[in-house]
Structure formats: structure tokens, C-alpha cells
Symmetry: C2
Subunit: 394 residues, 2 copies
């Protein structure tokens, strides 16, 4: 049910024509009543024009909806690209009858290319005409690029006897149209009918962002368009501002969508969960987990079912700023100890068998220099990933 | 002629039996007279046992030679690995009749596995018995792992009417034995018959290291064993301590060997030269050039002949600490402008044709925020790289 699962939310998905396949490529969603919003955006120094336009609107704390185009990301397109994004939001706001500054704009797809206004503008009007409380599924489909499948999730909680619903949709990292070259941008849109101030929504996002969406990787490339938005319209008639159950449910939903993105990663055949424990600081655990999970050699080894302790040690040692005692490291791969106190255990064959028996390989690293932990989730690296991303398209 | 090109240098290469193929896997080289030495080693926090043993000996400034094993890197092997490395150097020193602390030890190959003493020790004695001034080629062959071919270079300069020779050999990043899983460690050994203090040698290395070996990448994984050693034995009878021609010749030779390593990179089909200019600081130019050259998406695009300005912009923007005006960036791919002032030029087709016509693709990025420049060299990413590194072996 996606973003229309909560009360008072409408959505639509239409085919504007920016995808050569003719698939749905433009989504619009809208709250029937005023709503609060909070958001998080990429830290890439080159940001998409839609982010330039939407970020100050999100910072103002109130927005009614968002128009999302998938096919062309409108990034690295200069001043003209900014004007295109402003115009897309203006037309969507007008068609929905809301103030221009309460309509957000988002995009994903090919970067470095302008979005054709003559194609998307009529599509925005079509989408506005088709908005419905059943439109969440079409919207979730319309935001996809190389994804193999839509990624949606919902949660419902009870707040003072009132049912509050949270809905979400995400896209990222698939390979549904192998002749297209689409940047694996992550877009996540979350809605609720609970009532909440923008500040409360921002706190909930901030509490969960680092352990969920900021702890996944498909290819180590930080997109220019990554966006997470959380809207609350209060249609349920109850406030969730400081409700821990609400915060937990949002966090849980974020984790589900983050994992769904990795599972749908380009060329991925196995999930890789890297857990670092016993670090001196949380930042160290996080950096080391990221280094191991994004290492080309470790990811190739996972693809090959090889419990390669040497490559894991190499990646740990490459972690900038890590406090490390190489002679203290213990490592388990797929549950089997492969290194103890920094030296091999000789159990590679057992670990290899365990790796081959699962499609979710864990690497557990105990550093024994503190108590901080972090988990980072990625996938194996396959020849299919490379072939897919080497296809000529632009 | 490798490391035996200068006067007074002997070398040998033998097959100890640590490579399943039975190829040469143990090299030894020695100066007939006392020599100065300088060195540079990996910054990985996990370092090979040979580095633990050799580093203080290099710091002392005087060494006569080095025993190098290729097959097993002796890294992440605990206390026992250190003892193995000490013992290898001790046996080599004894067989060569030099002081134990003047013999260095180095290794490359599988990491996380112990080196079998009973296999390498007799081989060290064999190598010592076979040392000769014609042995440089065999030594250059014996240090290879996944390399397709030996990498050697020599330079000769005239100092006060005296001929001074510099020789070198390097290994790294090939795929000569596709069933082997060998860590792509870089080892470089340089020798000269010029006379020089350890301090002068260290200055020469330091002056050239960052722009040569520290500006190449095959897979972005910093090895636990990377080693560059520069020896000078003075056999030519002239000092080169502060001779600019000597420094320039060593720098030139380092650049040649660095490029040879990238050309021989696992799975590489094209060289990628990324040049960043107009940066505010040299560190910025360097970081941005590295980010673009090691980006999976950019490297896939180069494999596919795709002048993808969007992926280049994404990688530039991901550079930590970069001072950037996205609206000022100009980019040329294979000499063709693909972006001007941060926006696409529409000349993708021309650039694609130019990329396909060369096996050395350049990406020139002008940031227009300063005058610092840096060049970083890598290669495209091919399915062959992934297949090779996913082969099950340990």
C-alpha cells in the first residue's frame, strides 16, 4: 500500500515517456490536508537540481507532497536544470491546488542530462488528475529505475487507542532494463497519518538514518540524488511527536526498506552483513564495517564462496583512523571462526561450505579493543554487475 | 637487466614450490659491497611479517640485499609469522655471508596463511649458491604472482664523467595463473651503483613516491605488503647524493614501473588516466583524481566506452574535503569536451568514438577554483576482474 496506506494520502504513477521501455516514470503523492515534513539528502558535493529546490522547502517544515520523475535525474545540468526542477514543482502544485512552496520535487535516473519539460509537464497534470488513495502501488512502481521490483512497507501502531499507520516506498539499485544506464540513486518516501511537528520528524529520521540507509552499499558510489522524506499529516487524529512506539516503528520500516534496496542491488547474488564489534569508538566500528563491506576483493570472495580471512584483514587494516591490534582480531565467516587472535584457524573448508549454504553471508569481526559495534550491509560483486554497468548508453 | 644492471649487484631466482604451478617463487639479490638503503612501506594497519622485520633494518640505513618470496605473503599469521620472516632473513644472511641485520626480507602472495619453512629454507640456500650478475631477470620473474609479465627498467646517467646505472624490478596485479588467489601486492626493488647516503636515498624516494606508486590503483585495496626499496652501493665510484640528474632518473624509472603495474592490472583492458587541474590545493586535486579513477561506475563506463559525465560528476562530488563549484567544472574524456561549466556539451558520441579508438583513456577535469593539479592512473573494470577474484582457492 506504500505511501497511501495512512489516511489522507493520495498518489498516482504515470508514464511520461522518459524511459525507453515506456514504463511508469512519474509519481506524484499528496496529503489531503496540511502536513509536516523532515528530510535527509545526499552529502555528495554535486547535488541534483531537485534537491537544490526541495531542500529549503523541507527545512521550512511543511509540505503537502512531492512529484518524482524516474528516467532522468536532472543532475549536473547547470542553471537550466534548476529552472526545470522549479517548473516541475510549480506545475504539480498548481495542478494539485496547493501553494508552490509546499510541493517538493525529486528525481532519479541518468545524470548529466536535462529532463525534457515538454514530456514531463503534461504527465504531471495527468498524474494530478489520477491521484487516489489506492495509487500508492503505482507510485512505488513509477519511481523505479534499474530496480527489479517495487519496495514498499507499512507499519501500524496503537497510540492512545487510535490506530496510526506509517507507509513507505523506496527505489534503488536494480537492473530491470539492462539497456538503460541509470544511476543507482536511492529515494525513500515515508508518510504517516499521525500528527507530528517537523522537529519531531527530523529527530526520528536522525535517530535511525545512520544505522539503516547510511549503512548499506551496492557499489560504494554516493549518489547525487539520495533523498529520504518523512511526512506526517495528522489525519489519524492523534499526535505521535514523542511517542517511542512511533519512532521504533519508523526505524523498523526504514531498516526493512534499506535491506530491500541491497537485496535488489545491481548484479547482487548474495547479501553481505559485516558486523564489527569490540571497537574503541562507534565511528571506528562503522568505518571498519564499511571498509570490509565495500572492498572489491572481499565482495569478489563472497561471490566465489571463499572465506578469505586475508582479504578481510587487508580491508580492516585499510580503515582510516581505526585503533587496531592486529594480533587481537577474531573473525567468523558465515558463523565459522576463520581467524583467532589475528592468525588463521585452518577452518576455511568449513566456512566455505557454510557460505555456499546461505544467500546471506555474515562476516563478524571482533576487534577486542573496546565495546562499540556497527553493522553494514552490502552484497557480493558479480561479473553481471560489471557487464550491466559497462553497457553503452549515453 | 633489472636489479643487476648496476655494477656490484648479484641476483637469483629459484622455484621453492610455494606456487602450485611450480614457477619461480623465490628471489634473492645482494650487493657485493656495503650499501645504503631507503624504503617505503604500506600504510595498512595490518602489515606483513616481512615488513615488521625489514622496516627497522631499512631505518638503520644500511643493507646488502633482500630475500623475496612470492606465493605466500606471510601476513595476518600472528607471532609465528614474524618468527618465520626472521628465520628467512637469517638463513639468507648466513648463506650470503653478511650480517643478519643487513639482510631484508619481503613477500607477496596469499595472505592469512603461514609460509612453510621446510620449503623456503632450502630454496634460499639454492638461490644464494646461484647468485650472479646476470641473475636480475630470473629474480624479476621470481617475484611475480598474478602478473602477466615481469616488469623491469633501467636508467644510466653521467655523473662527473662517470656512468651511474639504476636498475629496478616490480611486481603487482597480474593474472598469470588464473586458478591462484594471490593478493595484488606491489613490490618494487631499485638498485644503483652510485654512492649515496641513506638520507639522500630517502629524499629521492619521498620526492617521487606520491606522484608515482601512490597515484596508481588496480582495485582500490591498499595491500598489507606494499614495499619500495632503493639501494645504493657506490660501485661506480662516484657519489650521487645531491645530484639532480640522479633524482630525476630514479623518478623517471619509478614512473615507468608504476605504469607497468597498472598496465598489467588484473582484468584490465584499458588504462585510465585521470588528471584534475584547477584545484584549490594539491591534496584536493589528488583526492578527486583518486575518487574518479577508483569509482566502480566510472571504471565500468570506461570498459563500456561510455563517456559518462554524470558518473564523473558523482565521483568528483564524493571527494571528501574538496572545495568545489559544481557550476564551474569542465571535463574532457579522451580529449573531447563532455561537460562545460557543469553542464553537458552534447558531444557524447564524439567522446565515445575517441574512447573506443584508444587503449589509454584520459579524463581531464578542470575545477576552476585554483591552480593545483594531480594525475592518478588506474584501469577499466571488467567482468574478467571479478571472475578472476571470485575463483575459489583458499
Amino acid at each position: 500500500m506504500s505511501v497511501t496506506a495512512p489516511n489522507g494520502w493520495l498518489a498516482a504513477g504515470v508514464a511520461a515517456g522518459t524511459k525507453p521501455s515506456g514504463a511508469l516514470d512519474l509519481a506524484l503523492f499528496l496529503s489531503e490536508r496540511p502536513a509536516s515534513v523532515a528530510g535527509a539528502f545526499t552529502t555528495n558535493l554535486v547535488v541534483g537540481a531537485p534537491i537544490v529546490v526541495s531542500k529549503p522547502r523541507v527545512a521550512a517544515g511543511h509540505a503537502r507532497g512531492c512529484v518524482v520523475s524516474a528516467g532522468i535525474a536532472n543532475v549536473a545540468t547547470g542553471e537550466a536544470g534548476i529552472e526545470d526542477a522549479v517548473e516541475m514543482a510549480r506545475i504539480a502544485a498548481e495542478a494539485c491546488g496547493v501553494a508552490e512552496e509546499e510541493m517538493l520535487v525529486s528525481a532519479t535516473g541518468i545524470i548529466g542530462r536535462r529532463i525534457p519539460r515538454e514530456v514531463v509537464e503534461p504527465a504531471i497534470k495527468d498524474a494530478a488528475a489520477q491521484l487516489s488513495s489506492a495509487g500508492g502501488s503505482l507510485a512505488a512502481e513509477a519511481i523505479l529505475t534499474t530496480d527489479a521490483r517495487p519496495k514498499t512497507a507499512t507499519r501500524a501502531i496503537d497510540v492512545e487507542g487510535v490506530r496510526v499507520t506509517i507507509g513507505g516506498m523506496a527505489k534503488g539499485a536494480g537492473m530491470i532494463a539492462p539497456r538503460m544506464e541509470l544511476h543507482a540513486t536511492m529515494l525513500v518516501f515515508l508518510t504517516t497519518d499521525g500528527g507530528a511537528s517537523p522537529e519531531a520528524l527530523q529527530r526520528v529520521l536522525a535517530d535511525h538514518l545512520d544505522r539503516t540507509f547510511n549503512s548499506i552499499s551496492v557499489d560504494g558510489c554516493t549518489s547525487t540524488s539520495d533523498t529520504v522524506l518523512l511526512f506526517a499529516n495528522g489525519a489519524a487524529g492523534v499526535d505521535v511527536d514523542d511517542d517511542p512506539a512511533f519512532a521504533a516503528a519508523v526505524g523498523d520500516l526504514m531498516e526493512e526498506l534499506a535491506l530491500a534496496i541491497v537485496r535488489d542491488g545491481e548484479g547482487a547474488s548474495k547479501i553481505l552483513r559485516v558486523r564489527v564489534s569490540g571497537a574503541q569508538e562507534e565511528a571506528h566500528a562503522r568505518a571498519a564495517a564499511r571498509e570490509v563491506a565495500t572492498s572489491l576483493l572481499v565482495r569478489c570472495a563472497v561471490a566465489g564462496g571463499d572465506p578469505n580471512w586475508g582479504r578481510i584483514a587487508q580491508a580492516i587494516g585499510q580503515t582510516s583512523g581505526l585503533v587496531l591490534d592486529p594480533a587481537a582480531i577474531d573473525v567468523r565467516v558465515a558463523g565459522v571462526p576463520v581467524a583467532s587472535r589475528g592468525a588463521p584457524t585452518g577452518r576455511e573448508a568449513d566456512a566455505a561450505a557454510a557460505m555456499r549454504a546461505t544467500d546471506e553471508v555474515s562476516i563478524e569481526i571482533e576487534l577486542h579493543v573496546g565495546s562499540a559495534t556497527w553493522e553494514f550491509v552490502s552484497s557480493d560483486l558479480t561479473p553481471e554487475y560489471v557487464t550491466f554497468n559497462a553497457e553503452y548508453t549515453t
